[in-house]
Amino acid sequence: MKRFWKLLLRNPGGLIGSIILLIAIAVALFGPMIFPNSPWRMVQRPFLPPFTISGLPLGTDALGRDVFAGIIYGARVSLLVGLVSTLAALAVGIPVGALAGYFGGRIGDALMRFTEFFQTVPSFALAIVLVAIMQPSIVSIVLAIAIVSWPPVARLVRGEVLSLRTREYVQAAIVTGQTHSWIIWREILPNALSPVIVLASLMVATAILLESSLSFLGLGDPNLMSWGYMVGAGRTVIRQAWWITVFPGIAILVSVLALNLIGEGLNDALNPRLNKDGR
């Protein structure tokens, strides 16, 4: 484990990504304590440009709300949705992939057809439809993102399980009469973990982009300030007040970039065979 962190942090991209992510997590956890201004409250006149009044570094939006406070509170929503929806997608994708790979045959075929079906359906359009029908809330957003993002996990896990189940130690476990679930959980899945971790870090990034896109279209949780909502709200007044859309967008860009860098760093650290040259 220690060696693994060393490898990740030796990769320059992975190091930068990890630092940015740590800052974002700190902002999400402690920001609201240090910065108690509610992001919904009017604090100054509307359309206050940034860097004009101390205490309001990024100015105010069309309703006189603090843009900086919005970004701090928005970090919570983005990171939380990204993390929880990825965990939910893993909770569906790993069992489906493991069962399909381990048992194969008809069950495996049926599970993979099911997976392919969800992979074919345009994911963002499906997410829009699901959130619109379930009504926008943090739960419906997380569910919708999880529903559209589990298929790659299932496919990846299936592939790993397919190649691992022919290994000698798995065959040995079968011969000694271990139960299927014991073999899958204790023998196979722990060895299939590293590519899943790489995929999961990239999925958190995609989930953050999806959440911000949904919020941008007005499908965010109406009780929670989020970056996508801020960009969406500032869109109509972009000619008068550029800062309302520019800063939350940068926040999304930087967090997604950090997660992608971590994903690539993890990939290099966990699959040292690949990407040896030119990187």
Partner: protein
Amino acid sequence: MLGFIAQRIMKAIVVLLAIVVLNFFLIRLAPGDPAVVMAGEAGASDQLFVAQLREKFGLDQPLPVQLYRYVKGIATLDLGFSFRQQAPVSQLILERLPATLLLTGTAFAISLLSGVLFGTLAARRAGSWADTAITIMALIFYATPLFWVALMAILLFSVAMDWLPSFGYETVGANYTGFAHVLDVGAHLILPAMTIGLFFMATYTRMTRASMLEVKRLDFVKTARAKGLRDAVIQRRHVLRNALLPVVTLAGLQAGTLVGGAVLTETVFAWPGIGRLMYEALLQRDYNLLLGVFVVCSAMVLAFNLITDLIYRSVDPRIEVAA
């Protein structure tokens, strides 16, 4: 080959049927009794009208009968009626479809060409400053939310520099004809197409670069080099041709993402396509229209996947027909 095509088409039809069935149940999950909602949308909600609607749309029938009627309706291109817009859903979608095809087609062509070009450049000079610059650029565009790129493009090219129009399909009231009309639409197309194109360009650049670096290490490239072939020939005939296979697969799989990009971009640029129509349906909670657009988008993605499958088959003859 014909058997292969027929098999793929059959498979696509089965998936489409499954999507239609999913859609049917999603409509039933939408909040409120559909008849009451429809009556409300039509502006009258007395009991008699609700009962009439229920009968007219077969909502008093058992669920399997409703499902059968729904599937039959879609097979004859009847996607229901939008009470908000007072028009059949299929007509609304058909009116908007050409604009979306123009936008996504242009964006797709730009991104694939430039992505393969940049990816090849980066891979050929792996480790150079050009490679680093291209890799960083691709990383950034890959992480940028589409809707924000769209807004920044408007801010830069329409507000600050006043070079390009920021919304719509053509200049309203100008009534250009002939070539002037083409130029006008083209000017309106640049920003939205570039917005979608940048994200996909980043994807294809990364993919092409990684794939070329991987192919470069393979034995047949060494053989080609040992035979004394010129570097340009090796790169083009041996490396690029093989490296493009995964890129083609990816391009096919990303048709769905392209639809998502169209929804966001058309919303920002007021581009009159089906993405924008989906947003309008969303704002008005017009579920019939929303799900109609969803079915059509899914069908388009399926068709696109089918076409890539066939292209892939012609690029790589090794592909097994039975799969």
